[in-house]
């Protein structure tokens, strides 16, 4: 019988065991010692206690507390401080860039009924600007690097039940309709244990390197918590440091003899494309033991290019651990590290018909990489229309149940029932419906697509409603209804966006300008590429009787060529 400790207690055990060991390290430039800052387990514990004292002093036990930090040590202390004080942390990105980002954070504040914001005093101006522009001046702000009340209570003395909420992970839902995944203590402890087992490393070998955003499950759970609950060291970089200088990621692994470092698929491609020969010449990646590739489409060709490019640095194919997971199941669901990538050559036509069949001709073949077997979780592949369970090799929706499956969405009973309370035709359940499509072959999961109207950009989900909303806000001429969709995927290409929008009658020259502007806005605010832009006359975008936009129907009509656009732009 496995016991489930609370996260706070599990971390405190490691503080006792590893007090003087480095717990977290933050790196700006791996070749410049002056830019590297580190805290031992003991120091991190002290910092977390100080945050907890702030929270306890203000009576925030049980309250939702928004964490608005850049990547770094203060975020980790704030997160642990919430666990110590029994407050419910809500990690979110600093709203620095666009109006869209501010709206999103404000929507989260309202949805989670946030009582206080934790931040560091360097960001006071950014936070004040957001609070005043979005009309939230009454919210309490606590700057956790400022001296506060001293702690009298022993942390972890607050009793925590395994079913108690550990934190809220906001990754689901559009800006107007954010959904916070409610993760219990048990969910997180269980999934962290699963991740650690998947790595195949021992505690003393666990040196994690990560540039993933800390408000994202793959950064917070897959890197920080996996390290801290298992006595490892977690070396962090800011996400922008990686995007700016991809070789800093690999250089940091080299310098800290990193063993575990995960990333979404696009990151490997960026390394291959951007790291120069002279940078490569001095890299030693032989310490790297496991890299879980998840949260993006997995491209076997990208992983092979990465192996080809970096094998001279000691990188081995067996380091790749393709995985499948989602926030609604805490983080990881399936995964496997194996001597070579397991790739199926599937017949495209059979796949379209809902079956896996080995391709006989190269022209019909689609390469699909195995995401490995289920990790301490039940997977069923289910027909999304009839809810009938399907046998191996049949493509259907991925349904899950187990201890990593979250409790639901915060304060959303209907959507929770719909997503977390699914029942098969044989009345078996409840299951989590993932909205992703795949099949099981040889006991392993192969992901083939998705049902949900969501676009994946650099490993993060973008919702069509948000793109439609921003386009309408920025371009007044787009007066009517819009239908933004994801185009069918092409191998080795990122998701491409199709924008269909109603527009007033305007001269063609003006429509061309509007199309250019729309493409620009989607790239700037969402990081996504628009492949086609179609303008329809008012009333051209179909909706259901209840007023929902029929995005997928509009996409199918576009692909079938049955739309009658007044202007069309294609890249």
């Amino acid at each position: 019988m496995m016991t489930t400790h609370s996260l706070a207690r599990a971390f405190r055990e490691k503080v006792r065991e590893y007090g003087d060991k480095d717990a977290v390290v933050f790196v700006r430039d791996p070749d410049d010692q002056k830019t590297i800052e580190s805290w031992t387990y003991r120091r991190l514990d002290e910092e977390a206690r100080s945050v907890a004292a702030h929270l306890t002093h203000r009576g925030l036990r049980g309250a939702r507390v928004l964490l608005l930090y850049p990547s770094g040590l203060r975020f980790i202390a704030a997160y642990l401080g919430c666990l110590y004080a029994g407050a419910i942390a809500v990690p979110a990105p600093l709203p620095v860039r666009s109006k869209q980002q501010k709206w999103r954070i404000t929507a989260i504040v309202k949805d989670a009924d946030v009582a206080a914001v934790l931040a560091q005093s360097d960001d006071r101006a950014v936070i004040d600007d957001w609070l005043s522009s979005d009309g939230l001046p009454e919210i309490m702000c606590v700057y956790t690097d400022a001296p506060g009340p001293t702690s009298t209570q022993e942390p972890g003395a607050v009793e925590t039940d395994a079913s108690e909420i550990a934190f809220l992970q906001y990754t689901s839902g559009s800006t107007g309709d954010p959904k916070g995944v409610v993760l219990t203590q048990e969910n997180v402890v269980h999934n962290v244990r699963t991740c650690f087992r998947l790595s195949g490393l021992t505690e003393s070998e666990l040196r994690v390197v990560s540039w993933l955003p800390l408000y994202h499950d793959m950064g917070l759970i897959g890197a920080v918590l996996v390290a801290l609950l298992n006595g490892g060291t977690c070396v962090l970089l800011d996400p922008l440091t990686f995007i700016r200088r991809p070789h800093f990621w690999l250089r940091t692994i080299d310098r800290f003899r990193g063993t575990l470092s995960n990333a979404p698929n696009f990151a490997y491609a960026l390394c291959v494309d951007r790291i120069k020969d002279e940078e490569l010449a001095r890299l030693d990646l032989s310490s790297w033991w496991v890299t879980t590739n998840g949260s993006d489409w997995l491209e076997p060709s990208v992983m092979r290019r990465f192996v080809d490019r970096f094998s001279v640095c000691g990188f081995r194919e067996e380091v790749f651990c393709p995985a499948y997971g989602l926030a609604e199941a805490t983080l990881v669901v399936t995964g496997r590290r194996s001597p070579a990538l397991r790739v199926l050559s599937a017949d495209r036509h059979a796949l379209d018909g809902g079956m896996y069949k080995a391709a006989e001709r190269a022209a019909d073949a689609k390469q699909i990489v195995s995401c490995g077997p289920p990790l301490d979780i039940d997977i069923d592949i289910v027909d999304p229309v009839t809810s009938e369970p399907l046998s191996p090799d049949h493509v259907g929706e991925i349904w899950l149940r187990g201890r990593s499956v979250a409790k639901g969405y915060w304060a959303r009973a209907d959507q929770t029932r719909e997503t977390f309370g699914a029942v098969t035709a044989g009345n078996d359940g409840p299951y989590l419906r993932t909205g992703d499509l795949g099949f099981i072959h040889g006991g392993e999961l192969y992901v083939t697509g998705r049902i949900k109207e969501v676009i994946v950009v650099h490993g993060q989900k973008v919702y069509p409603q948000d793109i439609e909303f921003v386009l309408r806000a920025e371009i007044p001429e787009l007066s009517g209804r819009g239908a933004v969709c994801c185009l069918p995927r092409v191998d080795n290409e990122p998701d491409k966006v199709l924008v269909i929008h109603e527009v007033k009658l305007l001269p063609t020259e003006r429509l061309k300008e509007l199309a250019e502007e729309a493409v620009h806005i989607v790239g700037r605010d969402f990081g996504a590429q628009v492949a086609s832009m179609v303008f329809l006359p008012p009333g051209g975008v179909q909706q259901t009787t209840s007023g929902k936009t029929k995005r997928l129907e509009m996409r199918d009509r576009y692909l079938a060529g049955t739309l009658e656009p007044i202007y069309e732009y294609t890249r």
Binding site: I243, V457, H520, G523
Partner: protein
């Protein structure tokens, strides 16, 4: 004389910018029109950062992303870069 040198520099900068944009868009530099916003060639948020870093390395000018998105064409970017101290 200085004007001619400046003009030659500006022209060099334009073709350099077009070459970098073409690299990220996986196009031939001749396909980049100097007055068309680079976003039209499929430059996304990650390639915009890469361009900013390239500009920093080449010209020693730190461009923030807002500037890059605002001065969106080769010609407008070259103007910004040549007029900045």
């Amino acid at each position: 004389m200085d004007d001619i040198v400046a003009q030659a520099d500006a022209e060099k900068m334009r073709s350099w910018l077009a070459a970098r944009a073409a690299h990220y868009a996986k196009l031939d530099p001749s396909e980049i029109d100097y007055d068309t916003p680079l976003s039209q060639y499929g430059l996304d948020s990650v390639s915009a950062v890469s361009m900013a870093v390239d500009i920093e390395d080449e010209f020693g000018v730190q461009l923030d992303l807002e500037t890059l998105w605002e001065f969106r064409t080769v010609n407008r970017l070259a103007d910004v870069l040549t007029t900045r101290p």
